[in-house]
């Protein structure tokens, strides 16, 4: 249960929101001009990184507005919240944030809760 700051309503519990997957995947303006492969990439392929992720959320049990969030999927920390029409923040903005909790490796899971 994390806290999410809806840009329209303020900080609310995660249970009020729904996740909409990767952000900034723009629907092609002219689908007919795309090759089968390119169209398939748009419909079926999404990133799923461990670490910093640009994703969409909707305040489904609130104002019902969609917005974008930069979240570290490893620490579950929300690094930035911005409206759909706002510019995508640069990755360099988040360089100095915690990479993973409890010294976990950057790829894969595993239990590394013990300090060596």
């Amino acid at each position: 249960m994390i806290l999410i700051k809806c840009p329209y309503c303020g900080e609310r519990d995660q249970s009020e929101f729904a996740n909409g997957g990767e952000a900034h995947v723009v629907r092609p303006k002219n689908p007919e001009s795309l090759s089968d492969k390119d169209w398939g990439e748009y419909v079926f392929y999404r990133n799923n990184p461990k670490g910093i992720f640009y994703e969409r959320w909707v305040h489904s049990h609130g104002c019902k507005k969609w917005f974008n969030v930069v979240r570290n999927t490893s620490t579950d920390q929300i690094l930035k919240v911005y409206k759909v029409n706002e510019k995508r923040p640069d990755l360099t903005e988040f360089e100095n944030t915690l990479k993973s909790p409890s010294g976990e490796p950057s790829v894969g899971s595993g239990n590394f809760a013990v300090k060596k």
């Binding site: 002219n30 689908p31 007919e32 169209w39 019902k64 909790p101 239990n111 013990v114 060596k116």
Partner: protein, 993 residues
């Protein structure tokens, strides 16, 4: 024998009675089940999980692995920890997992069969000869392994409460109370949470602390509680256990509001607190661990500090002459407790070398003339369902002591469960031979013994330092103790075994009956990663989560693997900290509150007219109407279907989703959302439309009414409405924010009736005499608005049955009255009400699909031969591009066809396979070629034969061919012919005339 400590201030002198296994027993108010049983000298309380070994009370708290009981007087609540649950007058308790009785348990034969149940037995039994699992192992395991019986009925018994606060202090023991005092009258909102019904922790559980600032611990607790209660910013929650520590300092805690009282069936007995805080202070203490030796599970073996807790907290001395076995300095206070009450242990066994043992302990033992053995250990114990003889090893010598109780201390573990749940990092501390918190991941502080600080003298310094952000006065208490100056310990996890027998076992996990041998065997078999080992042996996977033993198993494993313990690592601690019942989590979301029931404005009429209801999403919809009590569903549906096609029928369609789409760009938006072309559609006409996903698959269908280019009304399936509205909203906000369109759900703004059948026009003319329903004035797929009484109605000519039909939309307030009026006008035309089942039958006769029945998320409009619904000239709509992907354009995809059984009386079953062979082999060795499946099947009363719809590979090219449909429970298949899916009125004459 049990003895009594009459000076215990925490137990009232009010006598109560309870029953255990049918026997009436006395107790005092304030007793737990365990203290009450010990008070009555009862030590055998249950049988173990796998081997049915006799088990007693091992601890005095949440960590208890053995003493689980069933509370008969509370809906048969199983697996209740006897060491936590308080008794009250009239409480009825029974022991668990024994048959026929606790003292004589037939399941104990499992102990002799133990080779079957060794490490990995669950996994290995799956590998045996075919049929072994089903016929031998499963019945055996089901009968013999287990805990209590599930409750007989369920009651809604918890409510949820939410908190937003600045500071949460978990644990109202000595360090928690000192910490809380620092927050008195500050600007911080503080929640102090204590699991027990009394604050004080170690102060009341032992005599380790003699005095604080010159006053007794009890007086100091009272003074502190008054101070905290008077401070407006501090709230104290007692009988409340924090079970969960989530991200963003979100905590879940369960409060037992009826602790020690009979529950009131009219009130909730539990409160689940959901807490969001800025800072969490963990002062939740430590848990004593055991030592593995031969038969370390016999009733009578108890942890030393638990024994001490029974004396001070509950006034029960479980045994007046116990043997004490320790590897550390902490048992000193137990020795003092015993002697100060005039009792003397039978013997004191210390595994430490003589020169490692503190002089003050040695002096005390000598002065009080207590038999002591240093550099010695307990080899094991023996007895009939209880400890009778204890074997001691001293160097190479073995000898026996007679005692019925053995107090064991293997050291203390900081209770890091919640800290690791919060994703904090722990490290190994050699001095205490345990893991302690190191780096916090969230805003978390650990204070006192949970942080690995076992020294009372250093407690105030630690608190002052870690709370340096507070401007309040520094805590400075003079704490006088009955403990040694320094905590010292000699690592000891298992003692050397002298004798071997089938019955003798050395346990590492009492709850799940895991032995040291199981660990060794698992490692030999290659399970040398701690997470694998845990799952393979089920070590520490019981409801106690190995609270007294998991660190022991890590230490043993590290020794077996010859690795450092830090290298072996810990297993992951997961919430909840202690079992949390589903009733607590469910809160008020039970029965009628679990999911709202939605009823239409006609619901009362349906009830009066013998409707049988079906759940459609949250809606209650009439499924069919019983003409009389003896009529079966099949008879009712056949009757309704026949009468509708002969006269007329009416369906309550109010549940249908309705969305209003308005705005400058409504037309463009609708053209993008649906497959159909709306541009050339005339105002005040309607059209059947499909909505696809971006993958080209059908998501929903419905009728679209076009009022103007700026105003549409879309209907959706009854259960699909919220999703369709959310999808529309998502596209508008995220992909096409330039479109000026507004959406509104109007489902509940209208009652909707679908009336159809050849006599419909006559009925409508009587209900609405001023409206011209002629085909010329009111053609198929048009709609009009009319004044009706003092409101407005909309009537659309449409049909889902294939007959002449109209849909009436009216505000719900007027719904029931109009419905009744239609019936009074329709009586002479044999108008009947019909339900969803008849609707499904009639539409199947007509070859109409149902989204979710013919489609399953893998069906495109092309697969249904609905090419006519696709606006091919439209540049774009959701899913359009996917219809030309190589996979969706294949002509051997499953396509919609009709099925007619060759033998007209054969009924085919929905969901069955369509194959090429008339009979399945008795034993299927090679895969059978599969062509498709039956999606709908009915007996048609109007055609007087059974009909079906099916999705078959390349079905469009198979018309006229014969195949077979499989039958459940039979190898003989039903022969069918593939036909056009429209069985009635393929020319649409009935619809349009």
């Amino acid at each position: 024998m049990t003895a009594i400590n009459n000076e215990c201030p925490y137990i009232s002198k009010n006598k109560i009675n309870f029953t255990f296994d049918g026997k009436n027993l006395p107790a005092y108010e304030g007793d737990t089940i365990a203290s009450a049983l010990l008070r009555n000298n009862i030590r055998l309380v249950g049988r173990s999980f796998k081997y049915h070994r006799p088990r007693g009370i091992y601890t005095c708290g949440i960590e208890e692995p053995n003493a689980l009981v069933q509370i008969l007087s509370e809906h048969n609540e199983p697996n209740t920890r006897a060491t936590i649950k308080r008794v009250y007058d009239g409480m009825e308790i029974s022991s668990q997992n024994r048959w026929p009785s606790l003292k004589f348990d037939l399941g104990a034969i499992n102990n002799i069969l133990s080779p079957i149940f060794s490490a990995g037995f669950y996994y290995k039994t799956f590998m045996g000869p075919k049929g072994f699992w089903k016929n031998i192992y499963e019945p055996l395991i089901r009968k013999s392994a287990g805990l209590g019986k599930p409750p007989k009925n369920f009651r809604s018994k918890s409510i949820h409460q939410y908190h937003n606060t600045d500071i949460v202090i978990i644990g109202g023991g000595l360090s928690g109370l000192i910490t809380a005092r620092k927050f008195v009258n500050t600007k911080y909102k503080v929640l102090l949470i204590e699991q027990d019904s009394f604050l004080g922790g170690i102060l009341k559980n032992s005599n380790k602390v003699d005095s604080i600032n010159g006053i007794s611990p009890l007086e100091w607790i009272k003074e502190t509680e008054e101070l905290l209660s008077d401070s407006k910013n501090i709230t104290i929650l007692k009988n409340t256990l924090v079970t969960t520590y989530n991200f963003t300092n979100h905590l879940v805690a369960l409060e037992d509001k009826y602790s020690g009282r009979k529950i009131d069936l009219k009130k909730s007995e539990l409160t689940l607190h959901k807490i969001r805080t800025s800072l969490t202070i963990l002062s939740n203490g430590h848990i004593e661990r055991f030592i593995s030796f031969r038969n370390n599970d016999l009733p009578g073996v108890m942890l030393a500090s638990s024994f001490e807790k029974y004396i001070h907290r509950y006034g029960v001395i479980p045994e007046s002459k116990p043997v004490i076995f320790t590897n550390n300095s902490s048992t000193f206070s137990l020795l003092k407790s015993m002697t100060s009450l005039g009792y003397k242990p039978e013997a004191y066994i210390d595994s430490r070398k003589k020169d490692e043992i503190e002089t003050e302990i040695k002096k005390f033992l000598k002065n009080n003339n207590i038999t002591s053995y240093f550099d010695s250990e307990v080899e094991g114990c023996d007895g009939n369902k209880k400890v009778e003889k204890i074997t001691i090893r001293n160097g190479k010598n073995y000898f026996k002591l007679n005692s019925s109780m053995l107090c064991v201390s293997g050291g203390f573990n900081p209770d890091i469960h919640l800290f690791t749940q919060s994703k904090g990092l722990v490290k190994w501390d050699k001095l205490i031979a345990s893991f302690k918190p190191d780096t916090s991941f969230q805003r978390t502080l650990t204070l006192g013994s949970v942080s690995g600080n076992y020294n009372f003298k250093k407690l105030c310094d630690e608190i002052n330092q870690k709370l340096s952000f507070l401007k309040t006065k520094k805590a400075n208490l003079e704490i006088k103790c009955n403990v040694t100056n320094k905590f010292s310990l000699r690592e000891l996890w298992e003692t050397k075994k002298k004798k071997n027998s089938n019955w003798s076992k050395s346990f590492i996990d009492l709850h799940n009956d895991v032995t040291i041998n199981d660990l060794k065997q698992a490692i030999t078999e290659g399970f040398d990663r701690i997470e694998h080992l845990k799952r393979y042996t089920t070590n520490s996977m019981g409801t106690d989560q190995g609270k007294i033993s998991s660190i022991n198993s890590l230490a043993l494993v590290s020794k077996l693997l010859k690795k450092e313990i830090a290298e072996v690592g810990t297993t992951t601690y997961r919430p909840p900290y202690a079992p949390l019942s589903f009733a607590a989590i469910a809160g008020r979301s039970t029965y009628e509150f679990y999911d709202p029931e939605r009823k239409t404005s006609i619901h009362s009429w349906h009830l009066e007219n013998n409707a049988v209801f079906e759940d459609v999403g949250q809606w209650k919809r009439p499924w069919y109407f019983k003409a009389n009590n003896d009529e079966t569903m099949h008879q009712a549906v056949q009757r309704e279907s026949k009468m509708l096609r002969q006269g007329a029928g009416i369906l309550d369609g109010s549940t249908l989703g309705k969305i209003e789409i308005k705005g400058r760009d409504a037309l463009e938006f609708m053209n993008l959302m649906y497959t159909n072309a709306f541009t050339k559609m005339k105002p005040m006409t309607s059209r059947y439309a499909l909505m696809l996903g971006e993958d080209g698959m059908i998501k929903d269908d419905g009728i679209i009414c076009k009022i103007s280019d700026q105003h549409f009304i879309a209907t959706t399936t009854s259960s699909g409405a919220p999703k369709v509205l959310a999808d529309m909203e998502e596209y508008l906000q995220t992909e096409w924010p330039h479109l000026q369109v507004y959406l509104n759900s109007i489902t509940e703004q209208f009652s909707t009736f679908n009336i159809s059948g050849p006599k419909t026009r006559d009925i409508m003319a009587r209900v609405f005499p001023h409206i011209d329903f002629s085909n010329e004035a009111f053609p198929f797929m048009t709609f009009k608005n009319f004044d009706y009484q003092d409101t407005k109605i909309r009537i659309m000519r449409a049909s889902f049955t294939g007959e002449l039909g109209y849909e009436i939309y009216i505000p719900p307030k007027y719904g029931l009255e109009l419905w009744e009026k239609i019936f009074s006008c329709g009586k002479v035309f044999n108008l009947i009400p019909y339900g969803t089942e008849t609707m499904h039958l009639l539409r199947a006769e007509k070859g109409y699909i149902v989204v979710g029945q013919e489609t399953d998320g893998t069906v495109t409009p092309l697969d249904l031969n609905y090419n006519w619904m696709i606006g091919k000239n439209k540049k774009d709509f959701i899913g359009k591009r996917s219809l030309s992907r190589p996979d969706t354009a294949r002509n051997d995809r499953k396509q919609l066809v009709g099925l007619l059984p060759i033998n007209q009386s054969d009924m085919i079953e929905e969901g069955q396979h369509i194959v090429e062979i008339n009979k399945l082999p008795n034993k299927i060795k090679n895969p059978i070629k599969y062509l498709g499946h039956v999606s709908s099947s009915y007996h048609s009363p109007n055609l007087n034969k059974s009909i079906g719809l099916a999705m078959i590979k390349g079905g469009n090219n198979l018309l006229g061919q014969r195949f077979f449909v499989t039958v459940s429970g039979n190898t003989k298949n039903i022969p069918v012919e593939i036909v056009n899916p429209v069985f009635i009125d393929p020319e649409n004459k009935r619809l349009t005339s």
